[in-house]
Symmetry: C2
Subunit: 176 residues, 2 copies
Amino acid sequence: MTKITVLRIGHRKNRDKRITTHCGLVARAFGADKIIICGEEDECVNTINKASKAWGGKFEAKYAKDFVKPLKKLKKTNKIVHLTFFGTPIQTAIKKIRKEKNILIVIGAEKVPRIVYNLADYNVAVTNQPHSEVAALAIMLDKFFSGKELNKKFTSAKKKIIPSKNGKNFKKKTYL
Amino acid sequence: MTKITVLRIGHRKNRDKRITTHCGLVARAFGADKIIICGEEDECVNTINKASKAWGGKFEAKYAKDFVKPLKKLKKTNKIVHLTFFGTPIQTAIKKIRKEKNILIVIGAEKVPRIVYNLADYNVAVTNQPHSEVAALAIMLDKFFSGKELNKKFTSAKKKIIPSKNGKNFKKKTYL
């Protein structure tokens, strides 16, 4: 089975706390298996793991100070997909990427060091416009799974939403 | 032609600055026409408009203190799509939404007041898992346009990326 890891590089504690947390939650919700957060050590790793515990599934968040070590290590067993607006369009690249087994998706915070571009098997753009690594990651995973991840079931969930037309219906929010 | 407006409610200056900026940039990059940011007044409105000016197109960001007024006003000429993880799955709702003319997409920050659920024509969930309004907005727009927004051209751009396999190639980054 395909294993998808996300490598978030250049995390800055104050500036990126919420964006990185969103990246972690998106990675989990859209079917990735793991996120490694590199840069300044931060509680957002715990926030993501707490959410995973409550909402189910086997997603895992980890911290690594330096990104080069995990990048080089994972390069041996993964194809590296680097999301950058300088890259080639996802709508064409995705067909080849879907055939790969294990994938490491790299998302940067600020300026991404050249080594990432060089080590990447795919430098992929989710549009060539400036927007958000959170959105780029979600679109990448959605295209990779052809939308099927939207129906993903999360095992051993303590919290679960029962969808409803009127939206918020707390009585239907089940705590298992 | 379809006109898509995004209403971002409950913006808190310190906590949401970057998330809201990402929402604005995503709205623009994925084919929406406008974002109205409600809550605490913030420079992120300018940040988004500056990006639009540099990267082209006609996207516009505006500020409104209170969200109820624009919500009620736009309700007259728009169908309201409220993105909430309590809602019904986007993968089924999208077929009907695609037939609507003008759409107002509402995205919250913290807890969304009941009035939004009540005024919404569609309470839609991009997964029933916790993740990110940035990702939910991107997926919503991508599903609405069936991925065609990824090829969108932006007129009168001052900055433009020429996509490349090796990613970052500044020589190919054209300043028109």
